[in-house]
């Protein structure tokens, strides 16, 4: 089992292009070589899937059933971009409900009250190593993320019986980015991040206060984001993206794999 405690949000990966696209020619826009600063807010829909793991091996022995929830996700991002590098800070919050148990041929509704949430924040530094690679406007780069994340899960056995889990921690990831920024108004990019988080888990069961246990653990994460950015005015862009994230968590007596998939859209203010 591995938690999505997780990750490096990249919802904003979509917004990253704001930087590149944000080298507009308008009267209020900075010159192409000047640093560009962008603020973005995005929102969308996200699914969360959880599978407990009994044997940690490769691949892990995971449950044939997924505990799946869904809900809104919102993100805010600040990014400062120079011609060959960028810095970004991002905070993302996801809220999951409507949980159900999904098997290959059946779906069973979860008990009422099942819920989950996740907040994650990261700082990211990217470097654009190769520009105009093969074709004009195509570039490859890489970077490093520092990640902080907290995952909360409430799973009900029945109306009166429930278990709660909190996993919080921090870590780092490496990121590889491919970007296409050839036209004046449109740009797109793919970003793939992989890394790890060290965390603390606290679990409780409503049957008995003695069930409360806190232990350390950690997870690997893998995060793929595809995003696009369209410049409406020199100062305002719309952005959209798709993100899928896999994570594996392990600690004493608890391991799990989790996946999140999201679609988001938002606005970027650039200056």
């Amino acid at each position: 089992m591995r938690a999505p405690v997780i990750t490096a949000s990249l919802i904003a990966a979509m917004t990253i292009n704001a930087a590149a696209a944000a080298q507009p020619a308008g009267a209020n826009a900075p010159a192409a070589a000047d640093p560009v600063t962008g603020w973005s807010v995005t929102a969308g829909y996200e699914t969360f899937e959880f599978r407990d793991i009994s044997r940690n091996m490769n691949p892990p022995d995971a449950s044939p059933v997924k505990w799946r929830g869904e809900g809104p996700v919102v993100s805010a991002r600040y990014q400062h971009t120079r011609p060959r590098s960028s810095h970004a800070a991002d905070v993302t919050f996801s809220d999951f409900g409507h949980f159900e148990y999904v098997s290959p041929s059946r779906t069973i509704a979860g008990a009422g009250g099942d819920a989950g949430s996740q907040i994650e924040a990261y700082y990211e530094y990217r470097r654009h190593f190769w520009r105009d690679l093969g074709v004009r406007g195509f570039s490859l780069g890489g970077g490093i993320q520092g990640i902080g994340a907290r995952l909360a899960l409430e799973r009900h056995i029945s109306t009166a019986v429930e278990t709660s889990t909190r996993i919080a921690g921090g870590g780092a990831a490496g990121i590889v980015v491919a970007q296409f920024d050839r036209w004046n108004r449109f740009s797109a990019q793919v970003a793939w991040a992989n890394g790890g988080i060290v965390s603390n888990r606290h679990t409780e069961h409503s049957a008995d206060r003695q069930s409360a246990v806190s232990t350390s653990g950690g997870n690997w994460l893998s995060d793929l984001t595809v995003g696009a950015d369209y410049r409406i005015t020199p100062l305002l862009h719309v952005t959209g993206g798709w993100r899928t994230q896999a994570a594996g968590y392990s600690s004493s007596h608890m391991s799990f794999a989790a996946e999140r998939h999201s679609i988001t859209a938002g606005l970027v203010y650039v200056r």
Binding site: R2, M57, N58, Y101, S105, G142, I157, A207, S222
Partner: protein, 252 residues
């Protein structure tokens, strides 16, 4: 080598290190035939032994659910999904033994290998795995592998065969010289998940504790971590763990 290129190599190495997670665990494949009872959904390969005996298997499982709920006083529990395979090789990763199973209490599921005949071994296997789901749903996580695995066998119903407390007591009596020390079994670092001896010794001892002292006291040691178990047992039962073990050995 330029600093830029060195950076690329470092970042790529860090990125590649987590590829396993990018692929993640596998999911069940192939065709399934489903059978429902009041508290279970059984998944079997069409035409397999598990498919044609699903009714009998569900009777055993339903009886076990009722039995475990009665022993611990659980009012209700989750619906359990039971996936039965013809052999362990159908799973990735494969199960380690010809007849083996694994429970996933967080998702109310289990998978196991079920081939003919429908004997006590098979009943014991599927009820043990079902008990993991029922017990963890009702109590939460046990503090030791000894408690987690032992209790799942200690409360197996004997309605359809001598596979519960009676079997465990007779087994322990017949294997007295081979029994593992309880003091070792409560140490997770020494726990061997492939040792039937460890499973049976743990189950026999816990079945004895339930029979003699009841489940209320057992619940007070259920959550104890390995380092605290002996102290907690002495507090709850009023005697050292070694004395409890000696009492058990004298009774079998």
């Amino acid at each position: 080598m330029s600093a830029n290129r060195l950076s690329v190599i470092v970042i790529a190495a860090l990125s590649m290190s987590a590829c396993d997670v990018a692929y993640g665990p596998t999911s069940p494949t192939g065709e399934w035939s489903t059978h429902d009872s009041s508290r279970y959904t059984l998944y079997a390969r069409p035409g397999s032994f598990a498919d044609v005996t699903a009714g009998a298997l569900l009777e055993v499982l339903e009886d076990q659910y009722t039995h475990t709920n009665a022993v611990f006083g659980f009012a209700e529990g989750p619906r359990i999904s039971v996936f039965l395979y013809n052999n362990g090789g159908e799973l990735t990763p494969p199960l380690p033994q010809a007849r083996a199973g694994v429970a996933f209490p967080e998702t109310n599921a289990l998978h196991a290998v079920a081939f003919a005949p429908l004997d006590n071994d098979l009943r014991s296997l599927i009820t043990h795995e079902a008990n993991h789901v029922i017990l963890q749903s009702g109590l939460g996580r046990a503090g030791t592998a000894f408690m987690n695995e032992g209790l799942a066998s200690a409360v197996i119903s004997e309605r359809y065969g001598e596979i519960g407390g009676t079997f465990l007591s007779k087994w322990a009596g017949a294997n007295r010289s081979r029994l593992l020390r309880i003091g070792d079994l409560i140490d997770d670092s020494k726990w061997d998940s492939n040792s039937n001896l460890g499973y049976n010794t743990s189950a026999a001892f816990l079945a004895f504790l339930i029979d003699r002292y009841g489940t209320a006291k057992l619940r007070q040691v259920y959550y104890a971590a390995p380092a605290d178990f002996a102290r907690r047992a002495a507090e709850v039962y009023g005697k050292p763990l070694e004395a409890l073990e000696a009492e058990w050995l004298a009774a079998i």
